[in-house]
């Protein structure tokens, strides 16, 4: 019986001209968003690859230089776009793309897309995720709001029940039918996405990208399912189709537009973050407690020198096999990097507390559960961004310490000498390894659970409520 009800719903949906127009529009939007996302992904990716290649070449082709000169020359790290970010750009437009890596300090990641745009960007970007998260639920609402009301008004509901079918089975039949109709709209777009992934060789052979795409699709299946169930339940519980529609639209607006903004804003108000200027000042203050690489009069530098003289059993700096300057630099770098890391961790912790509010809101609002889940799977969420920042910092630290070690090995009077150009070619350049799915999943447990809770809760409680609904 469920199957025949489902078939009836699917057939009558497909006969409904309004639905066909809307779905074709939605499908066109989805396909367009996939292609546009893909095109912009490629442009940005190429731009960053070229930039990274340029700075890497520049680094390798430096003339004879003193290693500390090279440490100040530094390098850049450009953030590559994650493989699936063409489906969900997530935070990518609002996070920086380039960070300058140099001795003594950690710079901010600059040049975000949003800084190069007008306030138009704040209306939201047209990505696949946007269509799936906000527009498809609207389609579902228009599809399902009169699921029961129509049958009730036409009197067919009574007829159905006389056949010995329970209300709950009718509801499941309708849910199945509508699910099939929605699948007709969404599946082609995801198939196109999969095909586009396949056409890119580096992703075609990456099981990680496929697993991400699979879970991405799966989470949207759950998301659409709970919208369909919710809409059918509301339709059954409301006397009139009109009130069901208004109620569902109200929920959509509250969940899709008002709540996400309100919780994010509230989080920022509750846990204020420190400004860059204050952070820099604090780091500077704390770093002063350590050794200062550029200050020969520093008392700690003198102590370090005295220890070295004792260790190598010589009486003057000239006789040391190592450069005191290089060792002082290395020690000061280790200290300031540690200070930076502490402050950086505090700042990120503040952001995580701000964001936690949004994640908890996922329990109230399925949109706020699917959004982080989708971004996380696409590799464009906050955790992935911090991962990049951390990788860039790790590389910076290793690079600078390697150069400090080179300086140390030059021995006394290193400042008067330079190292050969071939030295720089032996130093590895920055290569970012995006984190694997297993790493990302750790951050996604909360939203995934919230989404499942919604799906299970709605099917259980909602359908129990349907049992008690009036037939006339």
């Amino acid at each position: 019986m469920i199957r025949s009800i489902a078939k009836k719903e699917l057939v009558s949906t497909l006969r409904d001209r309004r639905f066909v127009v809307l779905s074709v529009l939605m499908l066109a939007l989805l396909l367009a968003a996939t292609l546009v996302g893909r095109a912009s992904y490629r442009t940005l990716q190429r731009e960053r690859q070229v930039a990274q290649q340029t700075v890497n070449d520049q680094f390798h082709h430096q003339p004879n230089r003193h290693p500390h000169r090279v440490a100040h020359y530094g390098s850049f790290a450009f953030r590559p776009k994650a493989g699936l970010s063409f489906l969900d750009a997530g935070l990518d437009s609002f996070t920086g793309t380039a960070v300058f890596l140099e001795a003594h300090q950690q710079n901010s990641v600059n040049f975000s897309q949003a800084q190069q745009a007008s306030s138009l960007i704040r209306f939201g970007e047209l990505t696949v995720a946007f269509v799936l998260q906000l527009l498809v639920p609207l389609l579902i609402i228009f599809l399902c709001f009169n699921a029961f009301a129509e049958e009730r008004e036409a009197g067919t509901l009574k007829l159905l029940l006389t056949q010995g079918v329970s209300l709950r089975r009718i509801a499941w039949g309708k849910i199945t039918g509508y699910g099939q109709a929605v699948a007709l709209v969404v599946v082609p777009a995801l198939a196109l996405a999969a095909w586009l992934l396949l056409s890119n060789e580096s992703f075609a052979n990456s099981p990680d990208a496929w697993a991400r795409l699979g879970l991405f699709g799966l989470s949207y299946v759950v998301y659409f399912f709970l919208w369909i169930v919710g809409a059918v339940v509301v339709s059954a519980r409301q006397q009139h189709a009109r009130t069901a529609l208004v109620l569902l639209l109200g929920c959509w607006m509250l969940g899709g537009i008002i709540l996400p903004k309100a919780t994010a804003n509230l989080g920022a108000n509750l846990f204020p973050a420190i400004t860059k200027a204050e952070l820099d000042a604090k780091v500077h203050e704390d770093a002063q407690k350590g050794i200062n690489g550029h200050d020969p009069q520093d008392a700690r530098s003198a102590a370090l020198k005295a220890n070295l003289l004792k260790k190598y059993k010589v009486d003057s700096e000239e006789k040391l096999p190592v450069s005191v300057g290089g060792l002082v630099m290395a020690e000061s770098e280790a200290y300031t990097a540690k200070v930076y890391q502490q402050h950086f961790a505090t700042l990120n912790h503040t952001y995580e507390r701000q964001n936690a509010l949004t994640v908890w809101a996922g329990l109230l609002n399925p949109y706020q559960a699917i959004r982080p889940l989708s971004m996380g799977l696409a590799g464009s969420d906050f955790a992935h961004y911090v991962h990049f920042q951390q990788a860039a910092e790790d590389y910076r630290y290793q690079l600078v310490q390697r150069l400090n070690a080179l300086q140390t090995s030059m021995g006394y009077g290193d400042k008067e000498r330079k190292l050969d150009a071939a030295t720089w070619r032996a130093i590895p350049t920055f290569a970012y390894e995006a984190p694997v799915l297993g790493w990302a999943l750790g951050y996604l447990v909360g939203p995934a659970l919230a989404l499942l809770l919604w799906a299970v809760g709605l099917s259980w409680l909602g359908l129990r409520a349907i049992d008690k609904t009036s037939i006339v």
Binding site: P63, F94, S119, F130, A262, E278, Q354, T358
Partner: protein, 460 residues
Amino acid sequence: MRTFWILVRYEWRHFRAAKGLVLLTGLVLLVGLYGIYYGTTEIERQRQHLATLPTLAHHNVEELKKKFPGPADAGDIGYYHTTFAVHHPTEWASLALGQRDVNPYYVKLRLLGLQGQLYASENVNPTKVLSGNFDLAFVLVYLFPLLIIALSFNLLSSEKEQGILVLLLAQPVRPGVVVAAKLTLRLLLVLGLALLLSAVAVAWARVPLDGRVGVWVALVVLYCLFWFGVVAIVTALQRNSAFNAVALVGAWLVLVVLLPGLLNVYVDATRPVPQGLELTIKQREEIHGGWDKPKSETMNRFFALYPQWRDTATIRERFVWRWYYAFQHLGDESVRPLVAAYTDGLRQRFALVERLAWVSPAVNAQVSLAALAGTDLPTHLAFQQSATRYHDALRAFYYPYLFRKVAFTHDDYAKEPTHTFTSTSELGTATSGLWKLLVSVGVVWATGLLLLQVRPLNPR
């Protein structure tokens, strides 16, 4: 005319009796007040941050005074001394935050090359900026149309569905008057709410009462009128309530959600600006190349730009600060065309958005309100320009010390130029937006009235 006011009064009673609608209106009022609270606290926080900057700069000077107790080489001071270029908001910024949370509102500057410092970003939580700001402009542009739709989607259809319209039109009253009375009450209600919120915001944010208040009010009123025009069109089609609801929400979706997204894609595709990455790479290459080039070559290039320092002593030392700052500046000079191309590209982007804003009155209203508040891209570019001039002034202040080898004393810190920049309203953009909005209003109302004329009201 009397019947008109009787009908308006009747509608008012009707509205008060409809608990759901009263609740909704009250909710929008509360949400609007939250928007004002949020906007003002956000700007207040930025103001507080800006207020801490002089203290930070002062600490820095104290530290330098301790580090260099006697007269010092100005080169050392220029290297270690940090100062700030600050971008103060207008009072209007609290009402429409625009891009003020995305773009840095101060820049930390040293005497080094400017291009390596100008684009440093502020600490922002990307998750928060992605969600966007819940300011008054958002409430007005996004949520007010929904209130208008909720209040009037069943303007005639509900009366028709309940069979009241037949009775009503049996009286000696023209159908046009009925529609006008119903629209008037809703218009008064919505405009009253919008103006009340605006007044609260103006008072709360201590906005100076000048002509800009008029522009704000005009923008808000016209934007609401536009949506009532859309309602008039849908009402004139005389379909059932469900159809009206779907059609109006559809219009909202297209104008407020879809078109802005499409416009974004279009602007990005037709006005790409990749020069940002390019110019920082080039500037670094140029500056660090300075260490390896012969000093005379660097100095001659510098003297071509600043002939007034040509007669200073030839450099024979291994390192001297004036040479160092000369190649820092030459690094900036080398990317001058790229910087111009980058900022031009951004300006063109904004100009394109402005030109296409008529496509969606929501985009138009948003861009115009942000322009009035001085919180959009052009204002940020103006700030960057002002910071550049400040950096020029800093160089002009330090050069005599460096080139004439004048010692930098503790008294000299106070003589250093300081910077302040307060955004101004982009009135040009706001008023042109106003005209475009006026045209949109004219078009929808003309269409609505024409439809009402052509299709006489059918009470059944």
